[in-house]
Structure formats: C-alpha cells, structure tokens
Chain length 197, copies 2
Amino acid sequence: MAFRYPNGKLYEKKVTTSKKTDDGNANRGMTLEDDLNASIHHYLQIGKAVIHKKPTPVQIVSVDYPKRTRAKITEAYFRQASTTDYNGIYKGYHLDFEAKETHQKQSFPLKNIHDHQMEHLNAVTAHGGLAFLILRFAHSKETYVLKAEDFMKLKTETDRKSIKKDDIATLGIFVNPSILPTIDFLPAVEQLFRLNV
Amino acid sequence: MAFRYPNGKLYEKKVTTSKKTDDGNANRGMTLEDDLNASIHHYLQIGKAVIHKKPTPVQIVSVDYPKRTRAKITEAYFRQASTTDYNGIYKGYHLDFEAKETHQKQSFPLKNIHDHQMEHLNAVTAHGGLAFLILRFAHSKETYVLKAEDFMKLKTETDRKSIKKDDIATLGIFVNPSILPTIDFLPAVEQLFRLNV
C-alpha cells in the first residue's frame, strides 16, 4: 500500500513493511527506505549501532474514542520534518543522515535535500557529530555516502539544479553491495570520516 | 486542545504549542513536555546543543486527496514508540533520554518508563552515549536528571512498584530552577556524567 505526500512523493506504508521485513534476499527490489530500515534493524540486532528512523511527523486535528477500542485519529495532516529522517549512535559517535534516491542516471537533483535539513546537518557537524547523506542512483543501484559539508560545497559551486554523480563518487565513498545488511553503509562512514585513522 | 491516548495519558497538541512557544515566562504552569520543548528550542537557538523530540508515531491506514488541497489522513492510530522521545548531540556526545512527570510526592512509579525504552537506553549507554531520564515531581516542581543505569539499579533493588525520590536525589542531579531555558538540564547532565572532569 502506498500513497502520495502533498509534494507528490510516494508514501510507503513504512510501519508494517519495516516491521515485517526479513533481512536478506526478500529485500531485492525494495525502496531505499525499506533497504535502510532493514539494514539499521540488522545493525541493532547484532549490536553494531543504534540507529532509528524518526516517525513521519503528523499534525493531529481530531481523534475519536470508540467504546472499548483504541483511539482513532480521524483527521490529520502530514507535516514537513524539521530534521533528517535518521540518527543514532555508532562507536560513541552521534550519526545523523538523510537518505535519498534518484532515477536520474548521471546527476543528483539538489531539490531532493531541503534547506532546513542541510541546516540541521550543518548544526550536527558543528557540534561534533557525523552528518552525511546516503544517495542512491536507482538505475545503476549505486549507493554513496557523502559528508553533508561536501554536499554543501558541491551545491555552492554549481550553477545547475543538480550535482554530478562523478563528483559524488570523488568526494564520497561507494557503499559496497552486500546481502546482509542490504546497505552496509557503516564501513563507508568509517572511511569517509577516517574513524580508524 | 488536548485528548487522550488509549492508555489514558493526555495528548497535548504538541506541534502547534511547541512551535508557538515563546521561551520564558509564558511557560509557567505548562507540562514537562512543553517546558522541555521550549528548553531544547532555546538550546538550539543559542547553538548550545542540537536536541529534538521525535514525532509521535502514528500508523496511517487511509488518506484522502481532496482536489487542490493537501492530503488528509482520515484513519490512523497511535503506535507505541520503540525508543525514547528525545535525542541529540551536545559537545560531541550523543544524548538520549526520556522525560516523565509524576503527581506522587515521595516516589516515582516504575511503570512510567517502559521496558523497551530502558532497553533502548541501555543500548545507547553500551555504545558510548549519554542515556538518562528527566524526572519531574509535579507538586514540588522538582526536576532530576538520573542516569539510565542508576534507574535500572534502583528498579532492580526494590520490591515496590516505585522508586523513592530520596534515592533519585542521591544518585541523580537536581536541575536548578531557571527562567530561560525553563528546564536547564544540560549543566546537570555535565555534572552527572562528569563531562568536565
């Protein structure tokens, strides 16, 4: 089941899919979000990192209280998130990131990351956290991890409405394809921020 | 506007209140959550810490798309949160905490903190984060910051369904009353985890 946000973006029924997701082969062909949710769930289970996706922010207007059953929200609206979708802790480091997928082949549209999300990521960087983006090119199934500050640099330097995949590949780290977890981004994050140096 | 969760807990219309909240005197007599939201907003504005409350998790069942207006959620239900309500970053440290208020005068009911929230806080501690509770006694307006591991210790040691305020005061740190922000808990967190030693 899926429906659309006011901005036209597809809304997948995250709750149930992420809960029912079984790590591994079953994930083939799933969205970036499904893959990521399964991956952070795997990290949590093996005790590697504690990362969670934030719930979709909803403005609740009215609620019904049917007898003997749970409260039913009868009117609510999607709100724009004030931060990124994901954060957590890994080896003592605060992680904060946004994940986006594009169907373009050679470039990543800048509009996919909102200004207030970049402001949030910049604040996280300023306070000593690891702020980054997970960018996936759907056609080639290539996934990259890119520092938020490098995204800002590329954004500032271009006159276009997108940044080149080549530049992302140069400044970011390619996430090696993996089965369990599907998106094994933590080794790429270690390399990106030189955590082992 | 306020309504109740299935568990009977009051649900305040957080979105609008927290957005409209003006730090300072206007907060007198507000709930712990309102006070905390105003406090973390203040910390964010002065660049002291980046802490956010997670959105209330909602399971969306059905959505309407009226012409030319934004999507309207017409059926949804409250879900139990899998983590705590608050997390963020302060001086490079990952913070994760739950905040609860009691109307009891000398003790804090254990049921106010769910087992899965304690599991989450324990995992955060294991990964090097600062995991704690902000506990407020509504009558005396006393607020304490207590390490998650000390809450676990007190919980394990007691046969009762609550832990004593005296024990919380001994192991935790009293949050000094303040006007801006209303709940100035970060100095107490520094002291609790000896960040300056």
